[in-house]
Subunit: 218 residues, 2 copies
């Protein structure tokens, strides 16, 4: 308990508070990548970063706020990566689809948070935290949109948004299919043909290609 | 306690056990349709059906088994409805897409269970329960497949499976987007243009049309 007390005194200085804030986010990210977002509790994060739960809750409202802040960061970093990759993609739509799908598939935490954000994270935080999250997501999308339009001049704004949104929904769902429960893994060991969509990246690339073909042929 | 004891004695007869089993599933279905699958606990189901949790666990392994059994039923009923609707659909692919999308959109519990099955339900039950569920899903899909192939002769078996799978993943994700948290509802009240995909059925129809166009133009 002595250490915790000393730690808390230290963290009164703004730069030390900032370090703690970042350490909590880092711990949550590491645990989520190892165990899956759904399996990580506030107590797990507190133990990983070496704080009491009560001290941790001076930095974040809830467990869900921690993951929603990680989702903001993931959206921003995904957008930056996608813009860079799209700048040299096209005009072959298949190449643009591959770049877009891979920009998502490269980010396993992002794929999980795309599912959990509407499902649980946006439910267990204040209106202000949701507002900040939605603004950050919107800004990221507004930054990527021109890059996608440049790469695919034939696609309108609404179709570009559909491509982002449905690629995200597909990534969230296909991630679950490619990371089944131990029980399903055991079933697939008995009958390997029963495993559908085991290769997450290849399936997502195939989906985005097909869906983009549909958008371009409507 | 007296009533519970009497009820349990009564339920020793097989037909009464069967009635209890069905009553538990009915209660879970009602609660999930009212509050959402994620919000319904085993205690809620026990209270709704008027049993003790311990008595309920003589019928089902876990809360998750209850919902997985409901998912089996939903898959079977969806398949029967889709087969009937597909028998008069086509050859216009847009008409087939509409029939398929509406067969899913007509079933709000199905849309939720498509999300929760891989996410949580298949994780908290025994191998035997998962095996029975997967077999039931596979049988349902194998029954619908010929009906879809008749309606869309140009589509191969693999593309037909992709159409089912991605329509299901899209339905699961779009359901979440169309049923946001109270916080997100409050944000949308401030700025109605911020609400994306509020009309679940229309958005799913549009997605299935576009994706099918892509499958037919690959």
């Amino acid at each position: 308990m002595r250490t915790e007390g000393t730690g808390f005194l230290r963290a009164r200085r703004p730069e030390q508070k900032q370090q703690r804030y970042a350490a909590i986010l880092d711990a949550a990210r590491e645990l989520a990548l190892r165990d899956g977002v759904g399996a990580v509790s506030l107590a797990d994060i507190a133990a990983e970063v070496g704080m009491h739960k009560s001290a941790l809750l001076k930095y974040f409202e809830t467990r869900e706020e921690i993951f929603l802040r990680l989702a903001e960061t993931e959206f921003g970093e995904w957008a930056a990566g996608a813009i860079a990759a799209l700048s040299t993609a096209g005009p072959d739509p298949r190449q643009v689809a591959d770049v877009l799908a891979n920009s998502v598939a490269d980010r396993p935490l992002f794929c999980q948070l795309l599912l959990y954000s509407p499902l649980t994270l946006e439910r267990n935080v204040s209106l202000e935290v949701v507002r900040a999250f939605k603004q950050a997501v919107n800004e990221s999308l507004q930054q990527v949109l021109p890059a996608l339009r440049r790469a695919l001049p034939a696609l309108g704004d609404e179709a570009c948004f559909d491509l982002f949104a449905m690629s995200g929904i597909a990534a969230a769902g296909l991630w679950q299919a490619a990371h089944p429960s131990p029980q399903v893994v055991a079933l697939h060991a008995e009958d390997p043909h029963a495993a559908r969509y085991p290769d997450f990246r290849a399936t997502l690339v195939r989906f985005v290609r097909t869906y983009l073909t549909g958008l371009l042929n409507e």
